[in-house]
């Protein structure tokens, strides 16, 4: 339980860091060169770490199913939607909606055991927890003080 939470916190911090670095590259090189570079390096790093840890077993794909090959392409959907969301709404609104939507689908799929997930029964507690987190996100994003950055970022996007 604790290890799961700690790993999620680690992942989230690195996502935050990656977003900042990527936006620096994006300003200069544009969306698709940046996306290609980021995914290419992600692949290379995963491959090398995998090779170091698993050795030859990295190439053993016994329980491979055809759809496994297509999951990575979802990442392209993420980029297209983010770029277009930012274009219409600017960063503050877009990121707030994206985060709330992430939480919404997480709760939905946990409740239904989507893709063979272990079902986490839907309770009032779950709903209240997610709503409180959602309001935290909105307060964080719209609680003033971040207007300057939002304005700068949207100019960078344009």
């Amino acid at each position: 339980m604790l290890i799961g939470l700690l790993l999620a916190l680690l992942a989230g911090s690195l996502v935050g860091l990656q977003n900042i670095f990527n936006s620096r590259v994006n300003e200069r090189a544009g969306t698709w060169p940046t996306t290609t570079l980021v995914l290419g390096l992600g692949f290379l790093a995963s491959f090398l770490i995998g090779l170091a840890i698993e050795g030859k077993r990295l190439f053993h794909l016994e329980h491979m199913e055809p759809w496994f090959w297509f999951s990575g392409i979802v990442g392209v959907g993420v980029v297209v939607c983010m770029v277009n969301g930012m274009k219409w709404l600017g960063p503050t609104y877009t990121i707030s909606i994206v985060m709330c939507s992430q939480l919404f689908f997480a709760l939905l799929w946990d409740s239904f055991g989507f893709l063979g997930l272990e079902v986490v029964p839907f309770t009032m507690k779950q709903l209240v927890g997610v709503l409180v987190i959602g309001s935290g996100i909105l307060l964080f994003k719209f609680g003033g003080a971040r207007e300057i950055r939002a304005a700068v970022a949207s100019r960078e996007e344009a």
Partner: protein
Amino acid sequence: MKGLLFAFMAGFFITLQGVANSRISEGIGTWQAATITQFTGFAAALLILLFVKEKRWRGFKEVKPIYLTSGALAAIIISSNMTAIHHVGVTLTVAAVLIAQLSLTFLVDINGWFGVIKQKMRLPQFIGIALMVIGIIILKF
């Protein structure tokens, strides 16, 4: 309205990717899953890159080299995310990821790291993060 739909779908895709990756790693292993999904994503992006008009390759040279390497972090992000979903489910994982993500952004903002415009600490952001932590506690306990 259009923007709203795009943002909503972005959230859908991000969570979908987390769940799918976690499922794939159960089938073939964590590093195998991270390698394959990053590779197919890379191939798809490369294909799109070939068709878009604007290719600002030279832009890479204008960026500090350290910023170019952030893609490699994905190896740790993806493997941690998959393992977290196995341990605590999707909702808690996503919630914790978002808290850490916003906290880091906040830390960078108030310190003005990485060329970000420095900002003063404000109460709403602290309360926002506190609310998110309370939300996690409600979810789990």
